[in-house]
Symmetry: C2
Subunit: 801 residues, 2 copies
Amino acid sequence: MTTIADGRTDLLSSLAEPTEAEVAGLDAWWRANNYLTIGQIYLQGNPLLREPLTAAHIKPRLLGHWGTSPGLSLVYAHVSRLIRLTGQQAIYLAGPGHGGPALVAAGYLEGTYTDVYPAVTQDEAGMLRLFRQFSSPGGIPSHVSVTTPGSIHEGGELGYVLVHAFGAVMDNPDLLAIAVVGDGEAETGPLEGSWKGISFINPAHDGAVLPILHLNGAKISGPAVLARKDPAEVRDLMRGHGYEVIEVEGEDLPGMHLRFAAALAQAWGRIRDIQTAAREGSDAGPRPTWPMIILRSPKGWTGPAEVDGVTVTGTWRSHQVPLSGVRDNAEHLAILESWLRSYRPEELFDAAGAPTALVRDEAPEGDLRMSASPHANGGLLTRDLDLPDFRDYEIKVDSPGTSRAESTRKLGELMRDIYTRNPDRFRLFCPDETNSNRLGAVFEVSDRAFMEHVTPDDVAISRDGRVMEVLSEHSCHGWLEGYNLTGRHGMFATYEAFAMVSASQTVQHGKWLQEAKHLPWRAKVPSLNVLLTSTAWRNDHNGFSHQGPGLIQVVLTQRGDVARVYLPPDANTLLSVADHCFRSRSYINLIVIDKQPQLQWLTMDEAVEHCTRGAGVWEWAGTDDGTRDPDIVLACAGDVVTMETVAAAQILRERLPDMRVRVVNVVNLMTLSRPKDHPHGMSEIQFTELFTDTVDVVFAFHGYPGAIHQLVHGRPDADRFRVRGFIEQGTTTTPFDMTVRNRTSRYHLVMDAINNAKRLPRGAADLKAWCEAQLARHEAYVVEHLEDMPEVRDWAVGSPS
Amino acid sequence: MTTIADGRTDLLSSLAEPTEAEVAGLDAWWRANNYLTIGQIYLQGNPLLREPLTAAHIKPRLLGHWGTSPGLSLVYAHVSRLIRLTGQQAIYLAGPGHGGPALVAAGYLEGTYTDVYPAVTQDEAGMLRLFRQFSSPGGIPSHVSVTTPGSIHEGGELGYVLVHAFGAVMDNPDLLAIAVVGDGEAETGPLEGSWKGISFINPAHDGAVLPILHLNGAKISGPAVLARKDPAEVRDLMRGHGYEVIEVEGEDLPGMHLRFAAALAQAWGRIRDIQTAAREGSDAGPRPTWPMIILRSPKGWTGPAEVDGVTVTGTWRSHQVPLSGVRDNAEHLAILESWLRSYRPEELFDAAGAPTALVRDEAPEGDLRMSASPHANGGLLTRDLDLPDFRDYEIKVDSPGTSRAESTRKLGELMRDIYTRNPDRFRLFCPDETNSNRLGAVFEVSDRAFMEHVTPDDVAISRDGRVMEVLSEHSCHGWLEGYNLTGRHGMFATYEAFAMVSASQTVQHGKWLQEAKHLPWRAKVPSLNVLLTSTAWRNDHNGFSHQGPGLIQVVLTQRGDVARVYLPPDANTLLSVADHCFRSRSYINLIVIDKQPQLQWLTMDEAVEHCTRGAGVWEWAGTDDGTRDPDIVLACAGDVVTMETVAAAQILRERLPDMRVRVVNVVNLMTLSRPKDHPHGMSEIQFTELFTDTVDVVFAFHGYPGAIHQLVHGRPDADRFRVRGFIEQGTTTTPFDMTVRNRTSRYHLVMDAINNAKRLPRGAADLKAWCEAQLARHEAYVVEHLEDMPEVRDWAVGSPS
């Protein structure tokens, strides 16, 4: 027995050794939850078994996942008791996401489900509705989802339960996140990589995660690696990840209740010890060894042991629906009925169908119920950031394009002061690149978080740090999601090329936000802000593998009510965009800007006005006087291509002064959409004001050209948009050569303008020839530089075909 | 000392205890490689230090990564010695990819670099070229890349070195893959998840991976978790992953040579023991404990210990360029010169600049040189698959749309027979879903591979199995990449929604293939075949989180010379497409088709003809007699939307018989591109023959509509394409309701056809009203079904706004 600092040994003893009555209560709640789980999978009538079960009571299509559910429910019951006895605030993250019916049942037993879905009443009719909606058209999915009260973790794509849990407890000192890791999920890369979260959790100012590795032996149709390894290896693995291993194994009752209660008490006592020591300042040693529990229980535990002479419980056969063909197979129907009756529903639900006191009393009170925790509906706890005035970070711009600056440095300064003003609710997440991304100003006020050994040569690293650097995009992204969904604010900054590593997380989080918007009881949460730097166009020495602007394309697939993409061309527009993003709620804000010194275009006042509109004419760059349609529109979105566009306009201005050229810059990519496709979409009138409705548009885009084609589809004569952008012509080369290879250089844009202009002034042919000569000169330079290295040259100069 | 079965104790002793002369040779090679590494980072002249170093010899921009390189080179030297003494075939995978200059230098010292790039001669001029091309425009990147001979692993995105290594050794019994894991890479999720590869490697028929965890303490600007954890924890972690841990630590010389030689001998002896036991059949016990090495050496080892009074070697400061400002700082220039001279280049390179015998003699002969291994240029070893005639798996189709089948079952049967005919060069990789994806026929001839404990309840699982199931898309994808790049064939089958998990791997592998095409010495390898099932449209009970056809969009961003996307609408077209993909080389073939029973359309002969064209008119479905332009074109790509399109055409045929409707089905999505954008792009004439050049096209697409808009951009009057597709309106609902929510149902298509037809026959208005009534009836059904569950109903029926 652990003795904790504040003399709660008696409490721990009580926790660890439940009385017979307590065990009976735990078991009753567990039986009730199992009963409701099976009901959801099988029943469309006779929910309380008031009459003998018949085929008509069985759903026509049997869907759902029984296998993991009894284990999830057992843990839920015991954590609820812990909460009741200690007042601990806790949330429950179900990694085995297909245990949806178990978590839905728990919310129902706790009354929360009825609170948020009043039609799902705590009576026979409501129970029937609960059963029928499950995995049914118009109902709820078979996994834990946004619709499940108490959840911040969708059980779809596997691998993120620990990162979500760790994100949830950062700066949340009173919160305990129970994170159940399924043995299928435990095989994924992102999950294995996320045990190391404890290397970044400071018990003084963060809460705690209690991982429960639930090994029930199998996945959908085969065994799982961890379940079948030598158990000594699994213990070594968890110790190696830095945990104190507590094991519970078996299926005997009440033995499992007694052993799990003891294990949970031990884990909680250890967590409180760690926290107390850290908070009283008595622990400045190395990273604490946090507890975790390995729970080995049979898959489909308490289900039918054998069906048709084949073992089911404890095998992969109980993963989904252990008894099939129940409507047509009298024997299976009988097994189902006796299985359901084995939980003694008459003890668990009263005459009306409501949970009896035996069951009800197991739930904690009010917000302490895990299904009702405001931490799992983080919008309820969200407080606005205390933001400094972003205008104070202005870069002075005397005239456009005359000075250079690393734009992201200003964002670093802004975030530095956000850190200072919001010590409890803002964090930056970045895989090892905060300095590289020029955001290092944050280190003036906060170190990197790190609980492992530090040395005198380390800089800006300490256990008190709150800048999150780990070389895992999955962890960074997932931590921020957990932080956001519990109501706090942040930014994920990463290299553009490697943003695709966590693209699926962006998609899944976008889906979460999209669904949450349809649930009135889910309060809006801070937006997920993603900053991409080190872009495709400026990856001089890294080359092709580091050149990929693909995440824009991914975000564009999300619905307009969550997806936003910003391409600020300079520092002042970046500051304005960032301020907007930090104030927004329940969006995915993707901001793309390079970190290298770049030309600055707009004063702060101009930037604010430009960002407010999202897109606008840069009159100073063109020769269009606004009185009639120009001959050509040069449009751009993205920093490097904006520079090329302005340069192209300058060439045209100087060499073809009679040509009317309009320059349009787009900061908010979504303004290009039609209003029916995106709320930021500009009206047809605004669109025509910028782009006319007949003049050709040469559009230089940061990303893949297809993105613009799909955005302007449906706009007047969309065919007139000629888009230049990244066309996968990358290599180790100069920034300018990158624009040449991708046919987006100033010379290409000038030639495009000439080829497509409404009206061609004298001199156009000469200018085209001049552009071609410039490009030939460039090509000659490249070739000459490598003249006697033909193999490398072929590769460098481009496709031989 | 391990004693191995075939009496090679003496060999192992020799390996473990190098003579003084051998150590001198190892050290000379190592010094030479370090010298060449530094030369690449710093020098643009005076490569052999024949004169005092001056600022003019220093590159204007210093780029590259020194930190990891000396460790990588040390390992390379010792493995080369192992190869020389044992004849072991080995390849080298450098996880710390930014150690590019070290691996390039190794290829140069071995002569391979000159073999493939003849201008980079083994003399002073060639050495200078080697130095100048590094991280220079038109040259090579600073990481290990496609251009590096001997590599199958690009050092860009981190996390895949072990999966690539494991894939390389599957069915490659004589190959040893040396996989160096950097401490940065070790932090990523995919890497942590990939240690478990040994649970799937059978020493009887697979080769071996020797992981070397190279902990040098730091990443780009801070420490790494594994480097700073208690070393006992790291040992536990590796033991927990199932390895025998061999540790080497230090920086003393020749001590490190002696200790590393002993460690490598121990590891190799252990590997040979395991393999011999397995191959002689004397080992049928549990998974062997494979060896791995933890190598702790200082970051930037042998570099300048201190610069400007600050410690550099052993810290993050040596990650990239440890000495900056060398051109302008005489002191730094002097440090660089003495640093370079500390390797005694005069011993290592002769008067002409070629490696001296002392260095040369360290390299193995011919193909045994790791930089020259044909395993790392797998196209050289690729043998065509022995494919059965796919026509033999035909589903009989008497008339279109009259029978249903699970199309992927036929593909399973085809792959079953491919397994039988190609026991040494074909594998299926799938996260736990082979049966679920209806591909289970393969289990008739091969089990799942699994080296952990199996039980009597397990089905089709054994150590002899060669079907690869692990619940990690990262592992499946990466294994297949390693298998492909070493010249073998396979398929990665996964759920469509979770294909995004490994999207970045698809992108990076695509980039590899794109670059390889420009290198004449790289032989073409089998294509990476990806099959997506469980599609967005048929995820009835799983709901929104399982509905995302995003990978198509990702593959479309790749260049036309590698990217292919196929949407076969039925079994016979799937068989034809699959046969084509299995025969192809160096592509990414994405095949999307659902696994549920679906209508069958084409006979095998029709399917072959249809797939050969890639897209064609389905005359039987429309009313277009081909003699003149139709009134509307109904086009489709994807199984569910094809069914809706044919149904829409049928409604029009029956109810508006005078309307001329043409139905076009697209199997090969890339045919829509212009020939200049993709080699499969159909000519303008063919395009016009199918789609006319003025008639409106209602296009029902499996994926996001934007994909079609970008593909048809530039085609005649592309604005006339009205695309319906997945617009993120997913939920738990029926397949038909999915098409309604996404406005892609037969009724929507009919209304689109009427709204956009060139010529409207009498009755069109009535038909439109009828369609609206059908949709209203559907909506009423949905609403009624859930009439008194308003909250859930709101969520189910769609956006309230």
